[in-house]
């Protein structure tokens, strides 16, 4: 008998092929020309537009929408990509409901913002489909810069530096560039291998060499980079994962959510990816939501997302919470894990204690309950992994001031690994870009 959502244990092929294909297709289908025209017509071309202010990369949104309105779609794409070279990915993954679209004046007027994200995708897809790269490098400066980490921060920084005429080498410890675009973002937000296509498109600028499988701290040292290059940018993200601090975390069936998601993103055939019948996810952020939703989409029968505080404290936006609920994820709040319960070395259940908040501090109520589980995903936050000696670390991040300057001269940092910012793709892009501008100004001074 073939597997189904009812099959016990962690097994592949719970759903028919078509169901998996449908489940992992675009969360928001791309606009066709007509839809884009209708959506673009709604923009009021606001003065000093609130949407632009809300965009961490400061895209001139009213301008690119006006360009779409007039049929100058490539110009629209250039307006976007000139500010945000990963505008294609951001169009797919930005939580627009808490960024540009949240402050759209039509949200105030009608409770329905201009669909900025989808319009942005329309424009950037249009340009990228032609595989044209709209930017050309300035004359060579002879300067060489090392970028560590090929995530959004590193890529954005490298592109801007290459544009200015510098030679860039990106070192990344993974097998492929892209960072969490390639290994973390939910599959239904970046379909058809978009992350890899975008990196290939971005590298057309020239002047950027990517060296994968190169890890700083493991064969590569910051000191050596400082020696060999004129400047160094660190965009290493948050490669470490917080632990629950409970016995049994290494039990079979217990896994970091980010590892599950990375496997999922790299799976050649999603149907072959094994998933539990009763899945429990612990956490309240984007990673928890993505793990829970994708577990459901693979065919898990019961998926519970358990968060220790109230709903309003969840890092995932109400929009993301609703998305999870609509996919059948059971959201449990005000409960914290107390015990991982196994049988014969295999996970069978997780015990939780209800909590309350007293003066902002979490306290257990002494009341316990159990959720049956054959698979548990931990998603209680990522953290800085081992970092090279040198830059000062504060509150778990590389301390930066200004446009990503670390405490070490000649070393910049940006993205999730650096202080400030929102741990979003778009902030990583902005920080990479701004650091590049600062590096350029410093080197050319």
């Amino acid at each position: 008998m073939p597997n189904s959502p009812m099959t016990p244990g962690i097994v592949p092929e719970r759903l028919p092929e078509q169901a998996v294909t449908d489940n992992f297709s675009d969360l928001h289908a791309p606009f066709d020309r007509h839809e884009a025209a209708v959506a673009a017509d709604r923009c009021y071309f606001c003065h000093d537009a609130p949407c632009q202010t809300a965009c961490p990369t400061d895209i001139d949104i009213p301008m690119f929408i006006r360009e779409i309105q007039t049929g100058a779609v490539e110009a629209a794409a250039r307006t976007i990509l000139g500010q945000n070279i990963l505008g294609g990915m951001c169009a797919r993954v930005c939580p627009t409901e808490t960024l540009c679209e949240e402050v759209c004046v039509r949200e105030a007027a009608e409770g329905a913002p201009v669909e900025i994200g989808r319009l942005q995708r329309f424009a950037t897809d249009h340009l990228m489909d032609s595989n044209a790269h709209p930017f050309a490098r300035a004359q060579s400066t002879g300067k060489r810069i090392a970028v560590v980490g090929a995530g959004p921060a590193g890529l954005s920084c490298a592109h801007r530096l290459a544009l200015k005429g510098h030679e860039v080498t990106i070192f990344d410890n993974r097998s492929k560039p892209g960072g969490l675009n390639e290994f973390g973002i939910a599959a239904y937000k970046t379909t058809n291998d978009f992350a890899a296509r975008e990196v290939a498109w971005l590298l057309q600028i020239g002047g950027i060499t990517v060296e994968n499988g190169k890890s700083i701290g493991d064969g590569l040292s910051l000191a050596a980079l400082q020696n060999d290059f004129d400047a160094v940018f660190l965009g290493v993200g948050l490669a470490g994962v917080n632990a629950l601090g409970l016995a049994g975390e290494d039990m079979e069936g217990v896994q970091n959510a980010v590892d599950f998601i990375a496997d999922l993103r790299q799976a050649p055939d999603l149907r072959k990816l094994a998933i539990g019948r009763d899945v429990v996810v612990i956490g309240g952020g984007m990673t928890a939501i993505d793990a829970a939703v994708q577990a459901r989409l693979l065919g898990a029968l019961n998926v519970s997302l358990v968060y220790r505080r109230g709903r309003d404290r969840m890092a995932a936006s109400p929009y993301e919470q609703d998305l999870a609920a609509s996919k059948g994820v059971h959201i449990v709040t005000n409960a914290r894990p107390a015990r991982i319960i196994g049988e014969a070395g295999r996970l069978v259940a997780v015990e939780f204690e209800y909590t309350t908040e007293v003066d902002g501090r979490l306290a257990g109520t002494g009341e316990f309950f159990r959720l049956k589980a054959d698979q548990l995903f931990k998603a209680i936050g990522q953290k800085l992994a081992d970092t090279p000696d040198g830059p000062v670390i504060a509150d778990g991040k590389i301390r930066v001031s200004g446009a990503g300057r670390t405490s070490v001269s000649g070393v910049w940092a940006g993205g999730d690994c650096a202080s400030g910012g929102d741990d979003l793709t778009v902030t990583a892009v902005a920080e990479g870009r701004d650091a590049a501008e600062d590096i350029h100004a410093t080197l050319m001074a």
């Binding site: 025209a37 009021y44 606001c46 003065h47 000093d48 537009a49 004046v105 105030a108 007027a109």
Partner: protein
């Protein structure tokens, strides 16, 4: 419910909404369906002389101008008069009029500028039982090159002459349809009156090129790589038509000349506006070509509800009601002073008013760091631009300063008496002030 029935120069119809002479009225099938839908009358698509009919192009004959969401704002066409044989049209007119005796049936005509040609066709039209004729002196394309249409309408002497021929030949009321492609609409209207016209109708279409195909480098509509000027109509031309109607209605010579108004009528409100400026009936073309015959339901319900609201019992009570308030610039009250006022509750903070006033007007709107927009009374000249560009209806309004208040812009106290340019001290022609 208000009485919408209309008597226009003796032509009766259950409501003042007629279909203008155009494709919607080119054949029996259309006109029957229009009458079933509720239209009060039709002006049949222009008939030409007996003999081989004209031929139309076989490629596109329309060009379009769009607003947001591809809403059709303006349409242009290069269509000619009817391309169906005269006897077929006359036969159809006869049977439709027989089956719909309560509806207005007007026949539009355009034959060469020779007396015999008009004398030949008029008796045949009379035989159909039609209620009246409309002389098409308006078509700006195709027919004009053959000495008809606007080629006649642009020469007041011709208008007068042809109108007189018709009045001498037929007992049917004669409506003269005017072209807007002239400098002063009063001249052709006066000519029609001198020729004995019972009424004028206006406007016909405006000469235009709507767009250029930038790949083919040809005007559109494009026929085999070439285009030509066509007649423009639709909502975009309404302001031009309203003014021309008003000019005739307030001109002493033509003040009593009945007007059937045409040009961008799309809703009951447009119709009411034309009627207020003196129109006894209105004619519609582009709106039905865009939305179909059913819009007349909205026009009927809208007009009658509004009339009920206002206590107008019949259309006679609205026709021309706004004409006394159409005046010349020099008679406008310069002591009427207003200031823009922004309703902060309604404001959605788009900042359009700010951009408009700051960049192109009088720098009279202030913008705070948290996007609160407010009017600086000391700068506001009351131009109204902010009201016009604001996307929220009613958000910005113009407050009238009361006599005795000080206008912070000029520092002068608002006077209660009316005073216009003719007596203004800055007017060099104002001899009284100089004396």
């Amino acid at each position: 419910m208000a009485d919408l029935s209309t008597d226009f120069v003796g032509i009766k119809s259950p409501n003042p909404f007629w279909l203008a002479s155009a494709p919607p009225t080119d054949k029996e099938y259309n006109v029957r369906r229009a009458f079933e839908a509720g239209w009060g009358g039709v002006v049949w698509k222009t008939l030409g002389e007996d003999g081989p009919p004209v031929v139309n192009v076989n490629g596109p004959r329309y060009g379009a101008v769009y607003g947001a969401d591809r809403r059709l704002l303006g349409l242009n066409n290069i269509e000619l008069i009817t391309d169906r044989p005269l006897e077929v049209n006359l036969r159809e007119i006869t049977t439709v009029k027989r089956d719909y005796p309560d509806r207005a049936m007007i026949v539009s005509l355009m034959v060469p500028c020779e007396e015999e040609a008009w004398k030949r066709i008029l008796p045949r039209v009379e035989q159909t039982g039609a209620d009246g004729i409309e002389l098409n002196f308006g078509c700006p394309h195709g027919m004009a090159e053959r000495g008809m249409g606007s080629a006649v309408g642009q020469v007041p002497e011709y208008i007068e002459m042809v109108t007189r021929w018709c009045k001498q030949t037929t007992r049917m009321p004669v409506i003269v349809k005017l072209t807007p492609n002239i400098t002063d609409i009063r001249h052709p209207a006066e000519a029609a009156l001198r020729g004995g016209a019972d009424a004028v109708s206006l406007i016909n279409t405006i000469n235009s090129i709507t767009s250029v195909d930038l790949d083919a480098m040809s005007p559109e509509p494009m026929i085999d790589g070439k285009g030509t000027h066509g007649g423009y109509c639709g909502p975009a031309v309404k302001p031009i038509a309203l003014n021309m109607v008003a000019e005739i209605a307030r001109n002493a010579t033509t003040a009593k000349l009945p007007i059937s108004a045409i040009g961008g009528v799309t809703t009951w409100r447009d119709a009411a506006e034309f009627m207020a400026l003196g129109a006894g009936s209105v004619q519609v073309c582009t709106a039905v070509m865009t939305y179909g015959f059913r819009i007349v339901e909205e026009m009927i319900s809208g007009l009658s509800d509004w009339m009920d609201d206002k206590g107008y019992a019949g259309v006679d009570q609205i026709i021309g009601r706004a004409v006394p308030n159409v005046t010349d610039w020099q008679f406008l009250n310069l002591n009427y002073i207003t200031k823009a006022e922004i309703d902060q509750e309604a404001c959605i903070k788009c900042g359009r008013c700010y951009a408009a006033c700051e960049d192109t007007s009088h720098q009279a709107i202030a913008m705070s760091a948290d996007r609160v927009f407010s009017v600086k009374d000391e700068e506001c000249v009351a131009c109204n631009l902010c009201v016009d560009v604001c996307p929220i209806e009613g958000c910005i309004s113009m407050r009238e300063l009361q006599p005795g208040e000080v206008d912070p812009r000029t520092g002068k106290t608002v006077e209660k008496d009316y005073a216009n340019w003719t007596t203004h001290p800055n007017n060099p022609g104002n001899t009284c002030a100089a004396e």
